[in-house]
Symmetry: D3
Subunit: 234 residues, 6 copies
């Protein structure tokens, strides 16, 4: 999927809080991944989902030797286009780190925008050194094979209790990571920009001492005022 | 996968407790599914795994309308050969039933040996009426689409925290469901039969008042006695 | 709330599985209580919700002495009309039993239809002796005051992760307990009866060897056949 | 510890529900084990605690070979006096069975009254065949060494979130298993017998249609009536 | 409730660790909320509890439209007196944020001392911008209506497994949030001040190399020394 | 146990991520404690384990008075040799803090290298003031006796789901805390140093743009190159 720069810019100014409100109004209540949080502050990052999938470890499969099999995380990483957000289904396992510094360094080299997982990272100091933006659920020393077997990429996955399909849009900020289904990407961008504009105006009102009822959510009278003022301002 | 009748018969006499002990001795510690328990008593059932996979529900995908899509549970069921054990990865979700009476009735009609899932069944009274043997983790009224989206079949899956691949062997009894990796099916059958024979002899000794140390695990002296007696007996 | 006998009879023939499917089609995905299961088999029971609410124990409040305060479970029970289903929000606490044999005996005397809770019962043998139908999440010896403080009745409550309001309709069967919002009681009854009729016909088709695609969910051709046959039959 | 037959008989007539109420009045709120439930119905069983302790498995320690070490579960079992209740701290692990049929058979032979654990049993069909009464938290096929390392017996343990010391008294019934600290055994027996007598009288009143307030808990007027009647009766 | 400035000042110098120790000595073991932690460092904050209560979302109730109903979080906020600590029972739900930047800005404007919840906040960057002190259990992008329905304020609530009543006293610091029942506010302040004085003296002794036994807890000899020295110093 | 300075220095340069990979290759998959994370950054700390063990609180045992019993945490602390890492089995309880500032100050005075626990600390601001390095699972105001009873030291313990024996080696860094069984301490040091050297070389290759397959894990060709270059360099 190609994400044009206007869309990317739009999404960079819409909070994940606003995106989830808009999707909820369209009937989608399960779009915010449970678990992944940013390791540190990177602002808001946007990109199409590139999915990876693990199943539980089985000692005959999940071995250091498996790392050189063709269905390996290494193969998946070499397949990642620039600008994607890697979304890794680790079934929420917190006892093993899916990737450490070397794999993250390679992802950064390839221009991957961010890594999102409901699992843990390992060698966290090394990972931070790579400057790859990471939204994860924890940190654990053991290698992935201690708890996980890698089975493939670019399939539908479960990540943090949310379904993610390849080429859905991922948006990640301080609140976490949310997914916008591919078919709704343009519509949500439009509605989101308008919503941010409105909430900015409401926030100014609150800071001037306005009461909440009638203001948020906005009633007809206040909406007229908002439209008048923002037209003037715009 | 075809399971010949000698192997099937062998496994029907080996407890899942014995199978897990044997696999542990070969270094496999994660082969017993966490969650699935038998709805009622059916003895021990054996068959190759036929896998199904769900991801979480997303309201634009998990709808009653999706039930007639080509990638539907209906399509998967019509693809199941006689004698398989269906293993359904429901990510442990207990809020929605993966199947109800109608789907189970069709599976029974097709000669499916058993249904194993880390999720829940629904319309449990109707399901019991179909006589399909079921190992599941719970019972829930809501339809699968309330919590789950079906994404495919005969892929590697996670079920109850264990990796299951198509054509691994499933064995289900009162203790739950365990998987034997395809490459080990013959060897585990042999070792299992011998182990059951030995444990039967030990149990008789215990019932005659023997102490455990030296007997279980067996020391050289007792093993000699066991071999003498069972040779005699055999 | 008064539940007329036609409605009660209708609901007694609609499974909770069917009710949740119908509510899902109307956009309500969170109506099946997580946790409460029947202690034994009582068929399907129906009645308006009469709610009770606990908060966690605080040793200065949750004492045996509190049992004689006016805001006590005793007071709530004496306030229950005949035919209601008591729905008790115990916040899922499994370490203390909300009621034992004496309170259940009094509820049975008063003609309460059933008791539903996301908590535990205590003195379970005595409770069974009272013949009060119970859907609960567990069994625990300690008295309620070991973990819970009673704070009132006929308020909105959370039970098993579902919102229940006084006079919503509760339906309880083998799959668990579900709630129908008061405003939808009549409509769901109608839709439910029709759905049960259709599924009965589909089940017969499956038992005659029909394949699932086109049948369930039903396509136009099969629906025509269904309508023809059931008109004949009706 | 020796439990005289009068005490044993007394406790056999006091429910665990009543025991926890009495201990609560004495300030002990954490005496009912979370998890252990009876495999089937055995009435109420009573005996001094004989404790066993596991820590998590480490592959260099928890091996089938370890079963013949001097610090083994086998050694512990051969050390159990007749009439004790074995209380096994398995840290709530549900992925491995602490004991199977052979060890339970030996415990039954030695006259052990019951086995209580916050872990799981394995080979459950075989265990049932031994007729050893078991209160456990689940059933799992894998051997203990798949998840647990045995480290000793007759030490203080945690079982189901409750502290149990050797020679505390265990009482097990349908509601689960509770512990009475050694120093309180006689006092709790006395108070418990009286409480059961009172609750029996209250239950009769309820069955005759009495209201709860004033009756349960009992007020002065009703207590006078109770004492008059039971004196008469006694 | 009015909290006079001497009491407020006293509590600002007593750690929540000391408060829980004192309440434990008075038999109250369940006064520290599980979950709420400070978003950043604000020192110790003190104020009477102003409670809010949510139940789970039901799609017919928890809608953006509900935000303008009279029983809305907006109404509750406009009802908060200056100096209170808002305590929000979100049943521990981590999938939806109870409040975002606009509502927090309004609370800050109204002089609310702090916000405490066992749920999550949303739009966390915006919330930080309002400078409202927040103790919460997580961060989540979705709006409250994605998981919660607001049902009222100034009722008894459960927050983080602890009962909180309107006008109990809340104290929040780095260790979390604790509640002092209204009847004990004065007594705990006195005992707490004395305890802090004693522990300060003990800490100095430890830093001078004193051993713990006899010192902490303090024996008679050391107490005499403490009293002598602090009298001198005081 | 005495840890010589060469070994200590070696381990200070080996990440816990590398240690767990090496132990996994030797068949040990359960050596990383689940839960304990560093309160702040201290680099990597190494020392022999000195174990402490708690069981759940029972109100007759876990009292402030118990703090002066001979089997008290105070006694255990006075028994700790310089340079050890205290490993405290708190059964993962997060509702009570095992130690506060005074006990941590005494441990720092005695030259304890670090404190590791699957439980919580209390009075966290005070604890930070002592400069004792702490790996814990949380922060809680209540004293240990609110949830825990201390039962002894230098016994085998469970900490974060891992078995730890006295004199095993503990290594703690940003990823958490791991244990090396006593018998493997020398071997793991050697293998670890070599592994760190190899991974350093691989990382440089990645930063120069090398692809992962063939590099990590390393194939024969790359290993030859590595050996040539590092020999040169060494």
């Amino acid at each position: 999927m190609f994400l044009d720069s206007a869309l990317r810019e739009a999404y960079e100014s819409i909070t994940t809080a606003t995106i989830t409100t808009i999707l909820l109004k369209k009937g989608l209540r399960n779009v915010a991944l449970r678990g992944p949080k940013p390791l540190r502050t990177w602002g808001r990052l946007v990109g199409p989902a590139f999915t990876l999938r693990f199943v539980p470890a089985r000692e005959d499969l999940a071995t250091p030797a498996s790392w050189s099999s063709p269905t390996s995380t290494r193969g998946a990483i070499e397949d990642m286009p620039e600008g994607v957000i890697a979304v890794v289904d680790a079934m929420g396992v917190q006892d093993a780190g899916i990737f450490g510094d070397i794999l993250c360094a390679r992802m950064a080299k390839r221009g991957v925008t961010a890594l999102v997982t409901d699992g843990a990272l390992r060698d966290i100091e090394g990972v931070e050194g790579t400057n790859l933006p990471v939204w994860c659920s924890g940190v654990a020393a053991p290698p992935s094979v201690a708890g996980l077997t890698f089975v493939g990429w670019q399939q539908p996955v479960a990540c943090g209790g949310v379904a993610v399909f390849p080429d859905d849009l991922m948006i990640c900020d301080r609140d976490g990571a949310v997914v916008v289904p591919q078919a709704l990407i343009e519509e949500v961008a439009e509605l989101g920009l308008e919503q941010e504009r409105l909430e900015g105006w409401i926030m100014k009102e609150v800071q001037n001492g306005a009461k909440l009822p009638g203001l948020y959510p906005i009633n007809d009278e206040n909406r007229a005022r908002y439209e008048a003022e923002t037209k003037k301002g715009g």
